[in-house]
């Protein structure tokens, strides 16, 4: 008798398990590859990004590493010589070091200065004219541009598909060796979007881990009264488009934001650049026309053109500065250099 009951009970339990499992199976997705989730940490005291660029691009270590490899890979360019990293160099906070314009395919120059790449998660519109509306579609611009990487997405994908490593890396990140543009672009976005620069001396002072020198403090005080309106802390940009009084370059005839919006009121407006790592991202402005920080300050104090109709109202009387003010300002701007970021091994060439 006892044995019989045991058998019955055993059969019951077994059946229950089988049945429950059968139901579970139909709910589970097949895509159960083991990825390692990454969390995106917002530095203390920073605002939330305007939009969550990772909302439909779940961050994983594998996705990030794939993006990193792509960023450094010449395969994304026509002749193999122009990976993203050829123009975006880590030691220059991912700007092109000491170049007004960067070199692209076939000895061509870019028509704008390559900005540093960091804190992009807080940047709703990319490029100097804000023409790019999402970090995931940004790489399409340099890849296709004949004066940059000069390659088609078709060819890039074909090269990745026949590569000995990429199919496995895509599999690690997305659960399948299938390679398509969306996966490639999302991986690049994971790499670029998680580049956060938040460990400069300025940040340490904010966190109470360091103190400004007298000169730096004076520069900071001046900055808060005259520059802050556009170069807003803690990102040092308010992400708006403004005309800061540069003459039109007659070679380029670059009218900035107007090219995107068709509005004459946007003529000669460019995105307010972040000033983080500004010591490393020289030369300055959208066309790299100003070589040093000192040149920039001379621009704001004396050289700025006040006759353009779209000149920002904040600059109509320029920003008068004494030599001491300028020295202090340079001292302050140098505190925005983040060597933890420029040396972060996670962002190095893999």
């Amino acid at each position: 008798m006892k044995l019989k009951i045991t058998i019955y009970l055993f059969a019951f339990v077994l059946l229950s398990i089988v049945l429950l499992e059968a139901c579970k199976k139909s709910d589970a997705t097949d895509n159960t590859s083991k990825t390692t989730p990454l969390t995106f940490t917002i530095p203390a005291g920073w605002p939330q990004p305007a939009t969550n660029i990772f909302a439909s691009n779940p961050l994983t270590e594998e996705g990030f590493q794939l993006g990193r490899k792509l960023f450094y890979d010449g395969k994304l360019s026509k002749d193999g010589n122009f990976p993203c990293a050829s123009c975006h160099q880590q030691f220059a906070a991912f700007a092109t070091f000491d170049h007004d314009f960067s070199h692209g395919f076939n000895n061509a120059f870019t028509t704008r200065n390559a900005p540093g790449l960091f804190n992009l998660a807080w940047m709703p519109l990319l490029h100097w004219d804000g023409g790019i509306n999402h970090i995931e579609v940004q790489p399409l611009a340099p890849i296709a541009a004949p004066n940059e990487m000069a390659e088609t997405i078709e060819n890039v994908l074909a090269k990745l598909r026949t590569d000995s490593n990429y199919p496995n890396l895509f599999k690690a990140a997305y659960g399948s060796t299938e390679i398509n543009s969306q996966k490639m672009l999302k991986a690049l976005a994971q790499f670029m979007g998680t580049m956060v620069s938040s460990n400069s001396k300025y940040d340490k002072v904010q966190r109470g881990e360091a103190t400004f020198t007298t000169a730096e403090q004076s520069g900071y005080t001046f900055f808060k009264s005259k520059c802050e309106a556009c170069h807003k802390e803690p990102l040092f940009t308010d992400n708006s488009f403004r005309n800061n009084g540069l003459a039109v370059n007659s070679f380029l005839n670059d009218f900035g934001r107007k090219r995107i919006t068709n509005l004459s009121s946007d003529s000669l407006k460019f995105k307010v650049p972040s000033l983080r790592n500004v010591e490393l991202t020289f030369p300055y402005m959208h066309d790299g026309r100003l070589y040093s920080m000192r040149d920039v300050l001379d621009h704001y104090s004396t050289n700025l053109i006040t006759t353009q109709p779209t000149l920002d109202p904040l600059l109509v009387s320029r920003i008068p500065m004494t030599t001491t003010d300028k020295n202090n300002m340079v001292a302050f701007l140098r505190t925005l250099t983040d060597t933890v970021f420029t040396k972060n091994p996670r962002f190095k060439q893999p």
Binding site: I153, L157, L185
Partner: protein, 253 residues
Amino acid sequence: MKVLKIILPLLVTLLAFVSCEQNADAPAPLQGTVKVTFSNKVKGTNLVLNTGSYINNTGETYSVKKFKYYISNVSVTNIDKAATEVESYHLIDQSNAASLSFSFTANAETYSHLNFIIGVDSLRNVSGAQTGALDPLNDMFWTWNSGYIMAKLEGTSPASAQVNNKIEYHIGGFSGPNNVLKKINITLPITAQMLNIRANKTSEIFIDADVDKWFSNNISFATEPVCTTPGALAKKIADNYMNMFTVTNVVNN
């Protein structure tokens, strides 16, 4: 013990039902399929890429090399019912016969309207990397000014003074004053019958798209041979092409 012998099998049977209950839907409504087919024409004759020769309203001759447009957010509706296609993005491309028709599931009902957007809704223009019909590989995405080209026509006309007599219309713009998105609602009782969807059957809607309509209101290849940015000309052409569709037939099965 007898009791156990009876109860256990009962329990097992019960479990079989209970455990899968989540998956068992309420009785599914009867469903059929809507198939929509586009035929690209010029003033009633079939559009033939490259070799066909046509004349616009200002008397200029032209031929067409590329003709493609997005149809999105497709639904069929009646006063109190709607069948909306999910992930509804289609690139109708004259050079790709398979692209000229698509199908989706609808409850077995009668529908009086076909609705869609010419172009890609603004949300998908700002949502990053897409795939399928919206893959940037399809050559319908502006890289320098993020956003989809909603409709594209390229060809030649002797009236155009552009290099190799090119004419090129890339119509896009999804926001503010540059918005070229057009919502189309077509009333279906074309041949005195509405769209009737029956269980497990496919009913079809046939639509003609007339290229000629792009150049209504005196668009001239001499003066306006190229449009590759959002703006006034793009809007003018979109206002024109929103009138290019005619439902020619509804076939109920």
